[in-house]
Amino acid sequence: MQGVAGHKSRLTWAVNLTVLALVVLWLIPTAGLLVSSFRDRDQISATGWWQAPFAVEQTYRMRADAGAAVQEGGQYVIVGNVFDSDGYAGAAGRVTGFGITGRDPAGFAPGAVADLRRGGTVSVQPDGAFRVTAPEDFGRRGPNIYFQAATPPRFSLDNYARVLGADAMGQAFINTLTVTIPATVIPILIAAFAAYALAWMEFPGRGLLIAAVVGLLVVPLQLALVPLLKLHQTVGIGQSFVGIWMAHTGFGLPLAVYLLRNYMAGLPRDIIECAKVDGATDFQVFTRIVLPLSFPALASFAIFQFLWVWNDLLVAKVFLPSSDEAKVMTVKIADDLLGSRGGDWGILAAAAFTSIAVPLLVFFTLQRYLVRGLLAGSVK
């Protein structure tokens, strides 16, 4: 933006604002879910997450306790505080209105006096203190009091506790971990050896093999599902963790070989030739020189594969048994929670965050390697 000195500041402003808008736009959806996962479930359905820091106006109902009635100058009187009743949970708020029928739960301003149909009065003060009077005994049940109160915002870990416990997301978390770790570690070594051969060994058909790997990079996984599941069942693996580890290993290999070969081919030729002149075998060159030098590429691939396997839904749906003990988090969310807990946003948000917390952590701590891997894979 240099050459246009006169417009420079205005343009810089425009750029700053545009980028800010873009970042906000990109962050808002995730922020909404994060905030909601900590909110109380009643408050979620009462106000939007963007109003989370403010008090929530909600309507409650309580019944004045007839047993607490006392006689006072010829009248029966019940006094108490609406915020102490069973229908209300959490810290005391501020009453913004009250009523005596469900149809009009906030028809009276706090401090006003409402006349009951059977005679008598109800009044509720802003601080929640109420007073019910009646000319005769209340009998067994006191009158209903409806009130609308501004409840202070409530944040808690309740949603997480419920999701991890009752909804068996804890088990699913462990299953995801169980699937991901071997499926990330095993392909690396297999791919590294092959990548070394493709990068530094001369043999007929090398170019063809590299082209084949590039081609396999884009083969849709959908093709592999039916034949391989059949194969697994014939061999006796069936739908199991062993099966999914093998499947992910196979599916991850093209990217691994491709990334590692690109990186290894870029290593300085001198080092490798010197080692060979000094009498090192290919095996020694690989384990002592190439493998340590390729660490950044190995890390990139490991991150890719980790994110890919952790986030995968398709392979897990097909290659793992559909029983509850073997469900990974993505399957759990997509197949169970969205169906049975469709409208329970607090639970859904907590479940989603349980599943994306680890990838986000990996992303933010190892972003450098991720970017490097991306660039090695596509920029020439």
Binding site: G3, N16, L27, F283, L360
Partner: protein, 326 residues
């Protein structure tokens, strides 16, 4: 044995097995089959070196062959048989697909996805790459836009389901509509035709970061002189960007574009999670999941259609790779 322990054991077996295989096979090759001694050690060494690459390649090639090459053939073969796999029906599955209206919707929607998502993600990615490049807080901004890459498609779908929710107190879209005076909330995922675009938004949101990171690296690789020359010639910032910079990184733009295109053809999670393919939002990968476990003949036929759609990009990629090798 709990699966987690089983997993750790598998890692040990897998890694140990790999190391053992490579070490022992090389040892056997050098000491037993072609030892560097005897009447003609030189010939033995060169023979051993001719075999060695295949030792290195064997495990990867076996796995690739079994898990990616065989399925292409196997799926095609299976798609020629009926539901139970007993009766050969030739193109019967493909014929019944062509007659199915949902399948045609799925193909149409898929083409829509292929047109819109890569274009939008690449364009927004390119613009944000250029804009963030000179900012002091550019890296932070990039990080934030890049972040959805780490989120699963299922997680992202849930995040956006929340934005699209059919209540003004939950969904941001309906809240904005209500603030502007609309009376009733709408379920944007049920608006015919346009709901497809709301689903695409999720994938664009995820993929823009990918495009941005790669394009920003490409932009930095542009030689300064070309930009300086343009400035001296009096080009304005827009001309510099569109006429000088973009043409120079066209190769990378195409790579990004094709990479996202392939992804679009494979992703089934978003549609599966958000609409289940209802309301006219079906796409091929999620259409296939409907037949998975029920009618393998149909499922493989759909998979093969996806493969055919991917094929041009595959051929193009291989050509590019071969060009670079030369």
């Amino acid at each position: 044995m709990s699966p987690l322990v089983q997993g750790l054991v598998t890692i040990l077996i897998g890694v140990g097995g790999c190391v053992g295989y490579f070490y022992l096979s090389n040892l056997v090759l050098d000491r037993v089959i072609f030892p560097a001694r005897g009447p003609d050690p030189g010939r033995n060494i060169s023979r051993a070196n001719a075999v060695r690459p295949w030792l290195f390649l064997f495990p990867a090639m076996a796995a690739l062959g079994l898990y990616l090459v065989y399925p292409v053939v196997g799926s095609f073969w299976r798609s020629l048989f009926d539901r139970d796999g007993d009766e050969f029906i030739g193109a019967g599955n493909y014929a019944s697909l062509a007659a199915d209206e949902t399948f045609r919707t799925a193909v149409f929607n898929n083409l829509l996805w292929v047109l819109v998502v890569p274009a939008a993600a690449t364009f927004i990615g390119l613009v944000s790459a250029q804009l963030t490049d000179r900012l002091r807080w550019g890296n932070l901004a990039k990080s934030m836009i890049f972040m959805p890459m780490a989120i699963s498609f299922v997680g992202a779908s849930l995040i956006w389901k929340f934005v699209y929710a059919n209540e003004a107190d939950i969904g941001l879209i309906n809240a904005i509509r209500a603030a502007l005076g609309a009376d009733n909330p709408v379920d944007v995922l049920q608006i015919p035709f346009w709901n497809n675009f709301f689903l695409m938004m999720v994938l664009i949101w995820i993929q823009t970061g990918f495009a941005m990171v790669i394009l920003s690296a490409a932009l930095r690789g542009i030689p300064e002189e070309t930009v300086e020359a343009a400035i001296i010639d009096g080009a304005n910032p827009f001309q510099i960007f569109f006429r000088i910079k973009v043409p120079q990184i066209m190769g990378t733009i195409v790579v990004v574009w094709t990479t996202i295109t392939i992804l679009v053809l494979k992703v089934f999670d978003i549609v599966y999670t958000m609409t289940g393919g209802n309301f006219g939002t079906q796409i091929l990968p999620s259409y296939m999941m409907g037949y998975m476990f029920r009618d393998d003949g149909r499922a493989t036929a759909v998979a093969f259609v996806i493969m055919v759609l991917v094929l041009p990009v595959m051929v193009w990629n291989i050509r590019q790779a071969r060009k670079e090798l030369r």
